[in-house]
Amino acid sequence: MKKELKFKVNGQPYDIFVEPKKLLVEVLRDLVGLTGTKRGCNSSSCGACTVMLNGMAVKSCSVLALQANGAEVVTVEGLATGNKLSPLQKAFLDHGAYQCGFCTPGMLMSSTALLAENPKPTKQQMKEGIDGNICRCTGYNSIIRAVTAVVKGEYKEAK
């Protein structure tokens, strides 16, 4: 039996009815229509589906959609303001912190959550911050360089 799910995605309120078995990632992609969030595994291992739920990075394939009732969700589509990219998005571009791009939404959400929580992380903390996300292309170091650049304030005016 479907149940009501009221939540906000990227600031936009939604009031929809979902089957209890639906995972947050499925609702975001199939019902809300935001396909930026990806799915790469079936075992909560790859992090491609990472979104922010009430400010925390979570794997949206491992959260029942109904558990997001009343919550605020931010997806990769919510990072840029109009045509203005977020500092991390800009840094990812400049540092080549993506290749095929399939893990990138998850990487961006993990790093965004990390910096929201701790604006001055150490390198080790940055690595921990994206350790739940697999990237098969870049080797991670360019992602760490991108996050470092943001932490150093190189993208300040972009805010």
Binding site: K21, V58, G132
Partner: protein
Amino acid sequence: MIKDFEHFAPKTLKEALALLAKYGDDCKVICGGQSLLILMRQGLVAPKYMVDIKGISELNYIKDEKDGLKIGATTTHRAIEKSPVIKKKYPVLVEMETRLASIQTRNWGTIGGNICHGDPAGDPVPVLIALNATLTVAGAKGKRSMPVENFSLDYFEVDLKDGELLTEIQIPVPPPRTSTVYTKFNIIESDLATVSVAASVTLGSGDGVCQNVRIALGAAAPMAIRAKKAEKVLKGKKITEALLSEAGEVAATETEPISDIAASEEYRRELVKVLVPRMTKEALARAKKA
């Protein structure tokens, strides 16, 4: 593929227990769901009813009380990791949490869910055993408590009867000059443990004698276990390298490891032999400073 189910989101423990009593074997409890949802996606678990206790706020707390630390079962790993009081008084819990899976998992997954999943390679249980923790479960008939090492019964099986819920973890105030440490051995940093060791050492006053020691092993048997014989080797003695190494050898005989894709049975025993002395020594060194 997840089979559909009926979803209940009780707001209180009482409501949850009533639901569990009503639906019995046909229902499963979900909290963070970080382990359960994987099994459900794989079609291995397909409950008709799901009691979602994530929203029960009365079980979500960290309390620092006179007789020790109380953690509610629906407290997330991340809340423990970031708790200032835990960091100050029970730093081993923070060390353990930072190595548990990924931040995403810790943000949503809960300590209670982890313990109830009964994975012998889980991180919290060995540490809680070393800390001499107690668990409280609640059911229709009331509450009961037990030492954490008695809770796990077998592979992925714990001492929860139908209709019962884990509600609280209690950690006693450690005696003075006590230190507890934890390590897990794996190949990929954030992976499950191939073998894990938690050790807690209490030093006697001044003489450097090991007054008490608790050693717990993860992924070395069907459930996290206490290496009691190894503890005996060390207890009441002044610790020497030879004794430590003997404790490692003895601990290895207490294990019942399996061979799987991560490691062979023999290798797991070897790791216990190495890591038990190593962690005990570490705990000892820290206890001396404490």
